[in-house]
């Protein structure tokens, strides 16, 4: 603001430029105001000087706003040092991220008032210390320069005051007032909803999200008589049957599932395994393999129960299908018949079986399930209709799984019919005011409802959202919503565990949270989110603080219910179920990167390759090679990318054109579409990327559609992937064996390693002293979910390079997830191999660097001295694992000031022309070292660190606990234990590079009857 001071107010000698100025008349004041109006520059122009200065000022100002991270709603400078705050050290705060009716319990690292890194909260039952790629990448959304920053009225800048005034015209009794929100799983919001209902009795509150589990709840209503949500205890499950359910990834509702599942994928075959383990597996390890120090027996407590067996029956080749020991690929509509037949085989329901060709499969599966009564889980995905879930509930009861491995809690249904009703009201112009509280129904509502057109008929429409999305554009009023890291809130997980959403920073822009807006609607007054949440929680100060500290509110948790399944109701539903069609089917899966599309402006997630196809910056229509042949479409590889032919998908007059991707392992006769792309109104990153699958998703067929018309379309579309070659070429890269073979021949991985004695030309370092860092990656646990990749990107300031550069092979990820197909093209298996710098002891990169920019540390790290690197790229050429990444261009150049706030100050931001790569999070090692020194702990071998004190970012967040890092010189460390595992092997050992990262071979536990 330009302050025009009257000349008379100045001290010192008076200067004046005109008589007007001298007199400082109102006319002059007016002229000045017109000449220099406040905010004359268009703030929407992100590149304007004024905006730049604003952002600069904001960053500088925020650097001082350290107090707002504490649970005190005041901004104070440090008159005295705050306890626990050491400048330059980061702090960690527990919070939670709401998503789709569930909560991710998180711990967020804050540096100088900036949240920079998101981790899972070990106290939270849905996270258990792990975080998904979505949760971790959400920190980038906070600093998104394209975020919604101001109130808009009819697309023009307005103010909260103007909105407050306008909102006063809402009908007092709520006549014609409709609130449409995302799933309400915030106790505070639920409380405010009740208050609103009391104040405006005629108002209605509808919840809608594009991706919901309503069919699960409906199914339990049929089978169990109540709307119940199943929870699973994978720790206890020896047999898991996933029916069109990617429960490890896209249909995952709790990371505990992955944690528990993978705990049963770690067969304890240490050479020095306690006798009990060996006996349990009826196998004695070869004697005298390793000296045998006492191993911590409780390393993998679940291992005693043996490795589980996973059956996957699905159409898309999902991560769960990739992990499966036995996989059956069938069309989505056939899953229903499969389940019916399985239930019939198990005697759960009566009737004749219909699927002849899968009979052997069903029989073997049924036998296995019966042999594991009470120790099995049968689960179906949300795309399957209610009847499938009803039968599944019945099967689980028949097998005695209910109450053991399958538990239920009550949950309200949020059927899509409510939205349908609302659209009806809108179309009949009965809605005076529509308040869209978060979400983006114009984009993701079922196509047949034509929500966007209906919304125009509302008397008034108000949209609260974090971005100016399709709904915001259609609404009369748009209100900017606060990010969960900058606003108070609370959230209940699916199991009922409540967490407080603790902000780490003051709102960066003039935004308000859903709780605050709902509070305003309910009371007519603006209250602070903090007060609303605190009041709702009814916690005293101590309990409040404790809840903030722990990340969960004590005393909340699952309220289990035990309902018996009603066979007759289920059978009635089965008999009423529609028969499957012979037509080509389309099914809708969430995006691995953007969930339902709400993260589509997040560049990290765009560049995280799709776990299965490895395609970046695009979505595709997946189909099997056979189906592609039938449709006469193909993907033409082009060495640096591919040209995909396109298909037209038509459902009830709605059309979309999508590029195809031929995915080996996909079921024939089905096409899988990924939602979340094709956004029209969004920030610069996500606009017009991919196709919008919602365009052909109807309210009658939210999961899959058997009435779609799929035809070949003209033209091709260029796509890029991070992995162009999908087989191992017969090379011993991912070592794999069946469990049976492993038990017979536990050293199969070691046998691969046998070679003549190798020697190095150079004197080798002595690695026997001090800390020697090493890593193991358990290929049997890794599900390939990209959580480590995003963790690494966030921790190590890894730039995003964009589609074009990825096409040129210049992606920068320090850790990548190599995915190889094995077996036949029609029905393959796939394996994942996380690949980062292997920290070779005889590092081939080090000897060839002319300027000694990459050198070995005494602790066994292959260090990168960025400042010294001149960028010859010789090291990358000589790296057999191709894990080195070169800054071909200045990839950080176009970042806006606000986006730079996400950078981790412990890691240098690399300039162009410099090589970079994984360094085992050396900054975390150093931090632990400094801490150990500060606490005066003893130094020397095996090191002053407690076991597990130093965690790499990838390890910390891995939901499957596949990555273990630590001091291999410390026999107590987990990593040292794992290196003694029989499955442990070094990749490309014959090169004598001696990698510090080793792999634990992949095992599969297929049903021998289905071999």
């Amino acid at each position: 603001m330009i302050q025009i001071q009257g000349i008379g107010n100045q001290t010192g000698k008076k200067f004046w430029r005109s008589l007007e100025e001298l007199s400082n008349s109102p006319k002059f004041q007016n002229w000045v105001a017109r000449e220099f109006p406040e905010g004359a520059t268009d703030v929407l122009d992100g590149k304007s000087r004024r905006n730049f200065l604003q952002l600069m000022a904001a960053s500088m100002g925020l650097a001082g706003l350290t107090s707002c991270r504490r649970p005190v709603e005041k901004i104070l400078p440090y008159a005295k040092s705050v306890e626990g705050v050491v400048m330059g050290n980061s702090l960690h705060f527990a919070t939670a991220m709401p998503l789709n009716g569930r909560a991710y319990g998180l711990v967020v690292e804050s540096f100088d008032g900036r949240p920079i890194k998101i981790e899972g909260n070990t106290n939270h039952p849905g996270s258990r210390g792990a975080a998904t790629s979505l949760a971790q990448a959400s920190v980038l959304n906070l600093y998104d320069p394209d975020r919604s920053k101001e109130v808009l009225e009819g697309g023009k800048a307005s103010t909260w005051e103007a909105f407050t005034k306008a909102a006063a015209t809402l009908p007092a009794d709520g006549e014609g007032v409709r609130v449409l929100s995302t799933f309400v799983n915030s106790p505070t919001l639920a409380g405010l909803r009740s208050q609103l209902a009391a104040k405006m009795p005629k108002a209605k509150w509808i919840e809608y999200e594009a991706l919901s589990d309503d069919s699960l709840l409906e199914g339990s209503q049929i089978a169990l008589g109540d709307s119940l949500r199943p929870h699973y205890d994978f720790k206890k499950a020896s047999v898991v049957v996933a029916l069109d359910s990617d429960f490890l990834h896209l249909d995952n509702r709790s990371l505990a599932w992955v944690k528990d599942f993978s705990s049963r994928r770690k067969p304890a075959h240490h050479a020095e395994a306690p006798a009990a383990h060996a006996a349990a597996a009826e196998h004695k390890p070869a004697e005298g393999e390793h000296a045998a120090p006492a191993a911590p027996a409780a390393e993998h407590p679940a291992a005693d129960a043996g490795m589980n067996r996973l059956y996957a029956v699905e159409s898309n080749f999902s991560l769960t299908g990739i992990m499966a020991d036995n996989r059956l690929r069938i069309k989505p509509s056939d899953v229903q018949n499969f389940v019916f037949d399985l239930a019939r085989e198990l005697g759960a329901i009566a009737g004749l079986k219909v699927l002849g060709q899968q009979d052997k499969w069903i029989k073997s599966l049924a036998k296995d399930l019966q042999a594991n009564k009470g120790k099995a889980i049968v689960l179906a995905g949300p795309r399957q209709p209610a009847v499938v879930h009803a039968v599944v509930a019945l099967i689980n009861q028949t097998l005695g799984n209910a109450g053991e491995t399958v538990l239920y809690t009550k949950e309200d249904r949020r059927p899509v019919s409510a939205l349908k009703e609302l659209v009806g009201e809108l179309n009949s112009s009965a809605v005076k005011a529509l308040v869209v509280l978060g979400g983006n129904p114009v984009y993701d509502a079922p196509a047949d409802l034509a929500f966007g057109d209906a919304m125009k008929k509302a008397g008034n429409s108000i949209h609260l959202g974090a971005e100016v999305n399709e709904t915001a554009v259609a609404a009369k009023w748009h209100l900017p919503e606060s990010h969960y890291l900058e606003a108070w809130g609370d959230v209940a997980n699916l199991d009922g565990t409540v967490s407080l959403v603790q902000p780490l920073i003051e709102p960066l822009f003039g935004t308000k949270s859903a709780v605050e807006v709902a509070g305003f609607l309910a009371t007519g007054k603006w209250a602070k989110g903090f007060d609303l949440v605190k009041a709702q929680s009814k916690l005293d100060d101590a309990a409040w603080r404790q809840a903030l500290h722990d990340g969960v509110v004590a005393g909340t948790g699952p309220a289990l219910v035990k309902n018996g399944a009603d066979k007759t109701r289920v059978e009635a539903a089965v008999n009423a179920a529609p028969k499957s069609s012979g037509k080509l089917e389309i099914s809708f899966v969430p995006s691995a990167s953007f969930w339902d599309g709400r993260f589509t402006n997040n560049a990290w997630l765009h560049e995280a390759p799709d776990p299965v196809t490895k395609i970046v910056w695009d979505n595709v229509a997946l189909m099997s090679p056979k189906t592609a042949k039938e449709l006469q479409v193909e993907v033409i590889p082009d060495n640096v990318g591919m040209y995909a032919q396109k298909i037209n998908i038509e459902v009830g007059g709605q059309k979309v054109e999508a590029p195809v991707y031929v995915l080996p392992g996909h079921a024939d006769g089905a096409v899988t579409l990924t939602v979340g792309y094709g956004r029209k109104a969004i920030g610069r990153v996500g606009r017009d990327i991919g196709y919008n699958a919602y365009a052909v998703r109807t309210s009658a067929a939210m999961g899959f559609n058997t009435a779609a018309n799929v035809t070949k379309a003209a033209g091709t579309y260029y796509m890029v992937t991070t992995q162009e070659h999908h087989t191992q070429e017969g090379r011993p890269i991912v070592l794999e064996a069946s469990l049976a073979k492993f038990e017979k021949e536990p050293h199969f991985a070691k046998h691969e390693e046998e070679h003549v004695k190798l020697f190095s030309l150079f004197d080798e370092h002595d690695y026997s002293q001090g800390n020697q860092w090493g890593m193991t990656v358990d290929l049997n646990s890794c599900i390939g979910c990209n959580a480590c990749l995003i963790a690494c990107q966030s921790e190590n300031n890894i730039p995003v390079v964009g589609k074009e550069q990825v096409g040129k092979g210049r992606e920068m990820h320090w850790i990548r997830l190599d995915r190889y197909f094995t077996g036949s093209e029609e029905d393959p298996q796939a394996v994942y191999q996380p690949m980062a710098c292997q920290q070779c002891e005889n590092a081939p990169c080090e000897s060839v660097c002319p300027v000694a920019a990459t050198v070995h540390s005494p602790e066994g790290l292959n260090d990168m001295a960025y400042n010294r690197c001149v960028g010859t790229r010789y090291c990358a050429n000589n790296c057999p694992y191709k894990v080195r990444r070169f800054n071909y261009l200045n990839f950080h150049k176009d970042l806006e000031e606000i986006t730079k706030m996400v950078h981790n100050p412990d890691v240098s931001v690399r300039m162009r022309g410099v090589m970079e790569k994984c360094n085992y999070c050396v900054q975390r090692i150093q931090e632990a070292k400094i801490k150990a020194k500060a606490e005066g702990r003893a130094t020397g071998a095996p090191g002053p660190y407690k076991v597990g004190e130093v965690l790499t970012a990838c390890q910390q967040t891995c939901p499957a606990d596949a990555i273990t890092f630590g001091n291999i010189n410390d026999p107590e460390s987990r990593v040292a234990q794992q290196k003694k595992d029989h499955r442990n092997y070094s990749l490309l050992h014959e090169l004598n590079v001696k990698p510090r990262t080793t792999y634990l071979a992949k095992l599969r536990n297929p049903n021998p009857e289905l071999a």
């Binding site: 090379r731 092979g809 992606e811 995915r819 000589n878 057999p880």
Partner: protein, 480 residues
């Protein structure tokens, strides 16, 4: 026998000069000097305009590169080196013939070198200049390229990594460039003095006066000169072998299949001579025609060079075969993959088979005398050979890098317009330097050619020796 026939031809053509119409000492001086002394021909300006424009493109491309980053080239994830190192090795290879002709042939008393050595040496220097651009700008931070030199400076506080072949390369190439330049210059001194003495303008007098370092042609001068020339020839000889050996170490010392092989040093040296001679033939065929020096650079010279091309081309072909044999015999699956799949049938098979056709098949035509003495034919073949040798470096670099150990990171290299124009621009630089060279310096070593001319028995000793040796007789004037 080439030696003999050439010596005889020279003797026949030069000896009767005092009595007949054959060239005298003066004629030689005239023939060479006049090129630089006549009024600059319009065509020279045209040539300069063309070549310097192309050099300008090089400058623009390099400026764009340095300002933007290596990303303007096609280099990528698996293929960290692309056309940059390909072109570097290509130009270094071309630079081989000059020193080979000047030094090794000098030591072996291959007299036929005299007419072509100056030209070949100039080509060496200019090719090394072109080559030298690449290592400097191919690094990610070219403004720090000097860190590759072991000079004390406050930023680094440590030595370079002496284990790195790239560092050896820095020494090898810079030494080679230095010695080649010195050798060339020392050889130029007497001729520069000739130019000085003939100079008619002040400018030429001063320029050549300084450049000829006070040469008066006294016996002492000649004595010292010949000694110095001999010493430099001795110094250069191992460099001819070492520089490309060390360039080959860049590849051979790595662990990449397709690079990691002990055959590289001899294979690279043979390839370098192969390409170097081909380039000399290309340029000579043009130059002797433009500057009318067919009587000094005879068909025998060209034929001898073609024989060298045939020999080294065959060696290179043998090396290609050996690579395949080793890949098969070693039983190393990664090695086999590179040769039998990546190169022979992979996405770069087109490059591999272009290389084989150009390098192995095309020189075989030189078995036929008729073909190796045909000017148009040798001109075409020499160009094909250089295309083939460029492909050899590209095949070695790109096919080995694009598919190595882990199939997950396999990729492909595709050049950008910057790659192409930069390479094109280096030819501009090369030719611009040549255009200047032909205008301002003696393109043929006047004093050395005169040494070949028999004005009397004593002076013709070189030729007599050669003839006598071939006839098994004691030469006349051998006491010298």
């Amino acid at each position: 026998m080439a030696e003999l026939s050439h010596a005889q031809e020279m003797k026949e053509r030069l000896t009767p000069s005092l009595t007949g119409g054959h060239p005298s000492f003066h004629d030689v001086t005239e023939a060479v000097s006049i090129i630089s002394e006549v009024k600059t021909h319009r065509n020279w300006y045209i040539a300069l305009a063309i070549t310097s424009s192309i050099t300008g493109i090089l400058g623009l491309m390099l400026a764009y590169l340095v300002a933007t980053g290596i990303g303007v080239w096609g280099n990528n994830g698996p293929v960290g080196w692309g056309w940059d190192i390909t072109n570097f090795v290509f130009w270094i290879g071309i630079g081989h013939a000059g020193t080979l002709i000047s030094a090794i042939l000098f030591l072996f008393r291959q007299k036929w070198r005299t007419s072509i050595n100056r030209f070949a040496e100039a080509m060496t220097l200019f090719a090394v200049a072109c080559a030298g651009i690449y290592p400097a700008v191919h690094v990610g931070r070219p403004w720090r390229a000097y860190w590759l030199f072991p000079m004390p400076n406050e930023f680094l506080n440590m030595w370079q990594n002496f284990r790195s072949p790239l560092l050896w390369d820095v020494f090898a190439v810079s030494t080679y460039a230095t010695v080649s330049a010195l050798f060339w210059y020392v050889g130029l001194i007497p001729d520069l003095a000739t130019f000085r003495d003939r100079a008619t303008t002040k400018g030429r007098q001063i320029a050549y006066g300084i450049a000829s370092l006070g040469w008066r042609g006294s016996a002492t001068h000649w004595k010292n000169y010949e000694k110095a020339y001999m010493i430099l020839a001795g110094l250069s000889t191992p460099l001819v072998l070492s520089v490309h050996t060390i360039v080959s170490f860049d590849f051979a010392v790595s662990i990449l299949p397709g690079w990691h092989t002990t055959i590289f040093p001899p294979y690279f040296v043979a390839g370098a001579i192969f390409s170097g001679f081909a380039m000399v033939v290309t340029l000579m065929v043009i130059a002797r025609w433009i500057y009318k020096v067919e009587h000094l650079v005879t068909m025998t010279h060209l034929e001898n060079m073609n024989k060298v091309i045939l020999a080294t081309g065959t060696i290179v072909g043998y090396a290609y075969a050996t690579e395949f044999f080793t890949a098969w015999y070693s039983g190393n699956p990664y090695e086999s993959y590179v040769f039998f799949v990546s190169r022979a049938t992979g996405p770069y098979a087109w490059a591999y088979w272009s290389m084989i056709s150009c390098n192995v098949i095309s020189p075989q035509f030189f078995w036929f005398k008729k073909l190796r003495t045909s000017l148009p034919f040798m001109f075409v073949i020499s160009i094909i050979v250089n295309i083939g040798m460029w492909f050899e470096r590209f095949v070695i670099i790109a096919t080995s890098l694009h598919r190595d150990y882990l199939p997950s990171s396999w990729g492909y290299f595709r050049p950008t317009f910057v790659d192409v124009l930069t390479f094109f621009g280096t030819f501009g630089l090369f030719l611009t330097l040549f255009v200047f060279f032909t205008r301002f310096l003696p393109i043929i070593a006047i004093s050395e050619v005169k040494g070949m001319m028999a004005q009397n028995h004593h002076e013709a000793h070189y030729l007599d020796e050669a003839v006598a040796a071939s006839e098994g007789k004691q030469p006349v004037g051998a006491a010298h």
